[in-house]
C-alpha cells in the first residue's frame, strides 16, 4: 500500500491511543468527588476527536460509538446534567468498545461493526438524560435504512417532484420565437434551479441553471447549432426527471415534458438520423481505406451526431432506440480516441441499425424489444469479429474446458486469447484462482506481487460473494500444480485470501467449500488472528517524542561536532606548534568529548522514556470495579505520575503492578465494618507511587489493610518444603516475607485468604527481575503492606560490578550483588567439601567463579591472606563467589549478544569498555541455579567417585 496511507494509519494509531488513554482515567475521576471543573469538557473533546479521527479513516463503527458518547457528554457539558453511575458504566464500556474497534481496525485496516446493544444502551442513556432525537446521526446505518440514500427527506422530495411536474412541460417553449415566452421560461428555470439547490440536487441545479443561462444568451429564434445544444441540455433534464421518477416512485414531470416536445422535435429527429446514417457510411469508407486520421475524424462525426440523435430520442422517450444510439455513440467515440479499430462490417451494421430506427420513428414507433436486442447483438458481434488471433487447437480445447464458465469466457478479449495461446504453446499451465484481498491487505499485496512476478495474468473479474469483492483470476504459469499450490499456501497459510485454485482442465487444487469454507471471511476472530503479528509490530514502531527533547538532542550533537573539530585540529598540529598555544590539550579534549557523549546518551535515553502515567491511568478503573465487586470502599492515590520510564519496560510493568494492586484489594483491605471495628477509617487507601532515585526508579504499591500474616506464611513455607520446622524459628521476618515470592508458594487460594497475599507473586518477581529490577516487601500487622519495585531507568543501561578471574574481566549486574567482602583465609571454613563463611548470621556457601566457568582451571594465587568474595542473591537464595580481583562499579551499556553467545548459559549480555575491551555480563540468577542443581562442571562428582 502507498506510504501515505500507511502514514495515515500510523498517525491514527498513535493519536487514537493518546485520546483513549486519557479518557478512561478522566471518566473514573468524573465519577468521584475528585472530578475537576473542566474534566467534562476534556472528556467531551476526547470523544469528539476520536469521532473525527474515525471519520477520517472511514471507520464508521467507531464513529457511531464516539458520536453517541460525544452527545452524552454534550448534555453534561451544556445542559449541566450530572454524571450518574449507569452513565459512567456505559461510557466506560464505550471506551472499551472503542479500544477493541480501534485495534481491529489497525490490524485489519478495515471498519467493523460496534455491538448494537452498546449503541442502544448509549441511546437510552442519552434519552434518559433528556437528550433530544434532533441530534444528527451521521452513521451509514441511518442512510441504510432509507432506500433513497442521500436524497433528503420524503416530504420535501414530494414537493420538489410536484414542482418539476408542473413546470417541466414549459421547456418546450425554448424553441418558440416569442420574447415574452423566453423570459417566462428563464424565470421558470430559475425557480427550478433554486428548488434543486435547496434539495441538494447539485447536478439538477447545474443542468437547469446551465440551460437557463444558455437560453438567456441566445437570440430568437434559435439557430441550428443553438437548437442542437438546447436539445442536448433538455435531454439531460429529461433524464434527470426520469431518475427522479425512480426515486420518488411517481411522476416528476418526465411524461409531461415528452408530450410537450413531441410535436416540436419531429423534424430535428428525421434530419439528424439521416445525417447520422450518412456519417456512418463515411465511416465505412474510411474503415476500408484504413487511414487512421480519416477514420478518427469520421468516427468523431458519428459520435457527435449519434449523441445529438440520442438526445432527441431521449427527449421524446423513444427509449429502445435511444439506448441503441448510445451504443453507437460509445463505439464511435472509442474509435475516435483510438481505442478500437472498426471493420467495414461494424460501420455498415451500425448504419443499418440507424436506418431501422429512422424507419420505425417515421411511423411514430420505438423499436420493439426483439428488434433492439437483435440489432444490439449484431453490433456487438461485428465489434468482436476481429481477425483471428492465432488460436490453436489447444487453446480451443482450453476454451472448451472453460465452457462450463461462460462468464470467464466472456471476460476474455482477443488479446487475452492471444496471450493464452502463446502461453499454452510455450508449455505453461492455465489456472483459475479465486482471491479475496480486501480483508488482509498485507497478504493480498504479497499474493498480487507473486502473481506479477511468477505468473502471467490473462484476465480477472469481480465476483461479488456475500457482499464482498472476490476476484476470479485466469493465470498462466510454467509451474506445476503442486508448486503453485505450495507458493500460494506459503503466502497465505491460513487461506485468508486464497479462496480456490483449479488447473483448467484439471482437478481443484485448493477448494473453497471444503477447506476454506470453515474460515468464513467475515469471522472477526479468525480475521484478527491472521494479522495479529504484523499489526502489533506495526503499532510498536511509532514512538512519540516531545519536540523539545529532540531539540536538546540536536544541541548535544552540535556540541560534539565542535569538540570533534577541535580534536581534529589538535591531531593535525602537535602540541609544540605555536598555533596550538592557548588551546586545550588532548586530555582536556578527551574529557570534553566524554562529557558531551554522556549528555548525548542522557538525551537519547530521554527519547525512549514515557511518563509512567500512561500506565497508572489504567488503575483507577480496575480499583473501582474491584472495590464495587467486593463491597469495599477504596481510594486510589497516584503519585509521581510524571516520572519517566523506558518505553520498552513500561508495558511489561502493567501486569506485575496490576497483580499487586489486585492482591491488595482482594486480600489486604478489609471490608468497611472490619475497618471501623479496628479503629481505621472506613475508606481504605491504596497508593501507587513512582519516584526517581539516581539511575533507578522506585515504584511503590502500598495499602493500609491488615498486613501480611507471618505465621500463616511460615506454616505454608514449611508445608511446601521451602524451609524446615526446625529452621523456621530462626528466620527473621524479612526472610519469612520473601517466601511469598517463591515459585509455587501461592497456588492455594485458601492460604491467600488467611495470609492476605500470594497469588503468583513469583511471576511478579520474575518479571521485575527480567526488567533488571528487584522487589521488596514491608508489612506491619494491622497497618498495611508496601511493595517496593526497584527498576533501572533504562533496560539497556545497567549498573554493574566488574570482577576479574583468570585474567579476564566479567560484569555482574549490581542489582544481584548484595555485598562485597574481603575475607581472611582463616575465616573460610570447609564443611563437607564445601567452603563456607559466616555471613549475616548464616553459613554462606562460597564457590570459586573460575570453577563455575572453567572446569578445573582455577588459578592458584600464592600467598593470598584474603579472599575476594562477591555475595550475590536472587531474592530467594544467596551464594558467595570468590574472584581474583574486584575492580570497580560502572554503568554499562548492554549490547545484543551474538546468537552463539546468547546460547551460552550464564552469559546475559556484553558491553564494551572505554578501552575497547569487551566484557561479558554474567547472569547471577543462572549462576545460583547452576550451583543449586550441581550442574556446573567443577561440581564434586560424588556418584561417579563412589563407584
Amino acid at each position: 500500500m502507498s506510504d501515505l496511507v500507511e502514514t495515515l494509519w500510523q498517525e491514527f494509531g498513535a493519536e487514537s491511543d493518546e485520546h483513549l488513554a486519557v479518557l478512561e482515567p478522566l471518566l473514573v475521576r468524573l465519577g468521584t468527588a475528585e472530578g475537576e471543573t473542566g474534566d467534562v469538557a476534556r472528556v467531551f473533546r476526547g470523544f469528539h476527536s476520536l469521532k473525527g479521527l474515525s471519520r477520517a479513516m472511514s471507520l464508521h463503527g467507531m464513529e457511531a460509538v464516539a458520536h453517541r458518547t460525544e452527545n452524552l457528554l454534550g448534555l453534561m457539558r451544556d445542559g449541566g446534567v450530572p454524571m450518574t453511575e449507569p452513565m459512567l458504566d456505559g461510557l466506560l464500556e464505550a471506551v472499551d468498545c472503542l479500544k477493541g474497534l480501534r485495534d481491529t481496525a489497525i490490524r485489519g485496516r478495515a471498519d467493523s461493526e460496534p455491538p448494537p446493544a452498546l449503541l442502544q444502551r448509549l441511546d437510552a442513556l442519552f434519552e434518559a438524560a433528556g437528550g433530544s432525537e434532533a441530534v444528527a446521526e451521521p452513521t451509514p446505518a441511518a442512510t441504510e435504512a432509507a432506500p433513497s440514500a442521500g436524497l433528503g427527506d420524503d416530504e420535501m422530495l414530494g414537493l420538489f417532484a410536484e414542482l418539476m411536474q408542473a413546470r417541466l412541460p414549459e421547456l418546450a417553449r425554448a424553441f418558440e420565437a416569442d420574447e415574452a415566452g423566453r423570459t417566462d421560461l428563464v424565470d421558470t428555470l430559475d425557480s427550478m434551479q433554486h428548488a434543486a439547490e435547496v434539495m441538494d440536487f447539485d447536478q439538477v441545479a447545474e443542468t437547469v441553471g446551465g440551460l437557463k443561462e444558455y437560453l438567456a444568451a441566445q437570440g430568437l429564434p434559435l439557430g441550428e447549432d443553438a437548437r442542437r445544444e438546447a436539445i442536448e441540455r433538455i435531454a439531460q433534464v429529461a433524464l434527470q426527471a426520469r431518475l427522479l421518477n425512480e426515486v420518488v416512485g411517481g411522476d416528476a414531470g418526465a411524461t409531461g415534458l415528452t408530450e410537450a416536445l413531441g410535436g416540436v422535435l419531429v423534424e430535428d429527429r428525421a434530419r439528424t438520423l439521416v445525417a447520422l446514417a450518412q456519417a456512418l457510411s463515411a465511416l465505412e469508407r474510411a474503415a476500408g481505406t484504413g487511414e487512421a486520421p480519416v477514420l478518427r475524424k469520421a468516427a468523431a462525426d458519428v459520435a457527435r451526431l449519434g449523441h445529438a440523435a440520442g438526445s432527441i430520442l431521449q427527449c421524446l422517450a423513444v427509449e429502445q432506440a435511444a439506448e441503441l444510439l448510445l451504443l453507437i455513440e460509445d463505439v464511435a467515440s472509442r474509435v475516435a480516441n483510438g481505442e478500437t479499430v472498426p471493420s467495414e462490417l461494424l460501420a455498415s451494421t451500425m448504419q443499418f441499425a440507424v436506418e431501422t430506427i429512422a424507419a420505425e420513428a417515421d411511423q411514430g414507433r420505438d423499436l420493439d424489444g426483439r428488434q433492439a436486442t437483435d440489432l444490439t447483438q449484431r453490433i456487438r458481434d461485428a465489434l468482436s469479429a476481429d481477425p483471428a488471433t492465432g488460436a490453436t487447437p489447444q487453446v480451443d480445447e482450453l476454451l472448451a474446458g472453460l465452457k462450463g464458465r461462460p462468464e470467464v469466457l466472456g471476460s476474455l478479449s482477443s488479446d487475452n486469447v492471444g496471450d493464452l495461446a502463446a502461453g499454452v504453446a510455450a508449455g505453461a499451465n492455465v489456472y483459475e484462482l479465486m482471491l479475496f484481498l480486501e480483508e488482509q491487505p498485507a497478504i493480498g499485496e504479497a499474493i498480487v506481487a507473486w502473481l506479477t512476478a511468477e505468473t502471467k495474468i490473462i484476465s480477472n473479474r469481480t465476483v461479488l460473494t456475500n457482499g464482498e469483492s472476490w476476484f476470479d483470476f485466469l493465470i498462466l504459469s510454467p509451474q506445476a500444480p503442486e508448486e503453485v499450490r505450495a507458493s500460494l499456501l506459503a503466502l497465505d497459510p491460513d487461506r485468508r485470501c486464497v479462496k480456490s485454485l483449479r488447473q483448467v482442465g484439471g482437478e481443484a487444487l485448493l477448494d473453497n467449500d471444503e477447506e476454506a469454507g470453515a474460515a468464513v471471511p467475515n469471522s472477526p476472530d479468525a480475521a484478527s488472528r491472521g494479522v495479529q503479528d504484523s499489526g502489533d509490530s506495526r503499532r510498536s514502531t511509532v514512538l512519540r517524542v516531545r519536540s523539545d527533547v529532540i531539540d536538546r538532542f540536536m544541541t548535544r550533537i552540535g556540541e560534539i561536532r565542535i569538540v570533534a573539530a577541535e580534536l581534529a585540529e589538535a591531531a593535525a598540529s602537535p602540541d609544540g606548534d605555536p598555533r596550538r598555544r592557548g588551546r586545550r590539550g588532548a586530555a582536556d579534549l578527551a574529557r570534553a568529548v566524554e562529557t558531551e557523549l554522556r549528555r548525548l546518551q542522557g538525551a537519547a535515553l530521554e527519547l525512549r522514556v514515557v511518563p509512567i502515567d500512561t500506565i497508572l491511568t489504567r488503575f483507577p478503573r480496575v480499583v473501582r470495579a474491584l472495590a464495587q465487586e467486593q463491597g469495599k470502599n477504596v481510594r486510589l492515590v497516584l503519585e509521581g505520575r510524571d516520572v519517566r520510564v523506558d518505553k520498552s519496560m513500561i508495558e511489561l510493568l502493567v501486569d506485575p503492578l496490576m497483580h499487586m494492586v489486585r492482591n491488595a484489594i482482594d486480600h489486604g483491605i478489609e471490608v468497611p465494618d472490619d475497618r471501623t471495628r479496628a479503629g481505621k477509617p472506613a475508606q481504605a487507601t491504596v497508593t501507587l507511587a513512582a519516584m526517581p532515585r539516581g539511575s533507578e526508579i522506585l515504584v511503590r504499591v502500598s495499602d493500609d489493610g491488615r498486613g501480611l500474616n507471618a505465621t500463616a506464611i511460615l506454616d505454608k513455607a514449611v508445608a511446601r518444603g521451602l524451609t524446615t520446622a526446625a529452621d523456621a524459628p530462626r528466620l527473621n521476618p524479612h526472610e519469612i516475607y520473601r517466601f511469598i515470592f517463591a515459585a509455587g508458594f501461592s497456588t492455594a487460594a485458601k492460604l491467600t485468604e488467611t495470609s492476605g497475599r500470594g497469588v503468583g507473586m513469583d511471576v511478579v518477581l520474575t518479571t521485575v527481575q527480567q526488567l533488571g529490577g528487584d522487589i521488596d516487601v514491608e508489612t506491619q500487622a494491622g497497618a498495611g503492606t508496601t511493595f517496593t519495585l526497584r527498576l533501572p531507568l533504562s533496560a539497556a543501561m545497567q549498573a554493574s560490578l566488574l570482577v576479574r578471574v583468570n585474567g579476564q574481566t566479567f560484569g555482574l549486574a549490581e542489582r544481584y550483588v548484595s555485598s562485597v567482602l574481603e575475607v581472611p583465609t582463616d575465616e573460610m571454613v570447609e564443611s563437607g567439601g564445601q567452603m563456607t563463611i559466616r555471613h549475616q548470621g548464616i553459613a554462606l556457601p562460597i564457590y570459586k567463579l573460575a570453577d563455575l566457568l572453567w572446569h578445573g582451571a582455577a588459578e592458584r594465587r600464592a600467598g593470598g591472606d584474603f579472599h575476594n568474595i562477591v555475595v550475590i542473591s536472587n531474592g530467594r537464595e544467596m551464594i558467595g563467589l570468590e574472584v581474583d580481583r574486584i575492580r570497580r562499579r560502572l554503568e554499562l551499556f548492554l549490547k545484543d549478544l551474538h546468537p552463539l553467545l546468547a546460547a551460552c548459559p550464564t552469559v546475559s549480555g556484553a558491553a564494551v569498555l572505554g578501552d575497547g575491551r569487551i566484557v561479558l555480563m554474567l547472569d547471577a540468577d543462572e549462576l545460583i541455579q547452576m550451583v543449586r542443581n550441581g550442574a556446573w562442571r567443577g561440581a564434586p562428582q560424588r556418584a561417579e567417585k563412589v563407584s
Binding site: 502507498s2 425512480e246 469483492s469
Partner: protein, 138 residues
Amino acid sequence: MTKNILVVDDSFIMRTIIKDIVESDLEFKVVGFAENGKVGLQKTRELKPDALILDLEMPEMSGIDMLKRLALLSKAKVIVVSSVGQAGSPQAVQARQLGAVDIIAKPSGAMSLDLQAKKGHEIVQALRRALGMEPAPS
C-alpha cells in the same frame, strides 16, 4: 488550482494504482477513496470532488446505481474505469446514458495491474477533458 478527485473502486490495490495515475498529473489531487457506491455517495457529499474515477462492479451499491444518484446530486464529472467498460458493453452504454463523461476499459480484468502502463495516459487525458483543461502533452 488543483482539481480534487475521488476514487471509487472495490479493490484497495486498484485504488492505489489509480491514485498514482491521477496524481502523476500535478494538477490533480486524490482527496478520498470509497470501496463501494454507497460510501462513494457519502464521500462525494462530504468532499465535493471535481471529478470521480468510478468502477462499476462493486458490492453494496454498484457504479451504475451510484451514477443514477450522482446524475441528480453531484456536479462532479465521472470517468468510469471498469473491467466491464469495453466498447459496446451494456454497462458502458448505461453509464454513458447516466452521464459518465468517459468510459475506459481496464485492460486485464477487474484487477488490472497494468492499468498505469496501458491506460494511465488515457485516464489523465479523460480527466483533463472532462474538467475543461488543456490536454496534457503525451
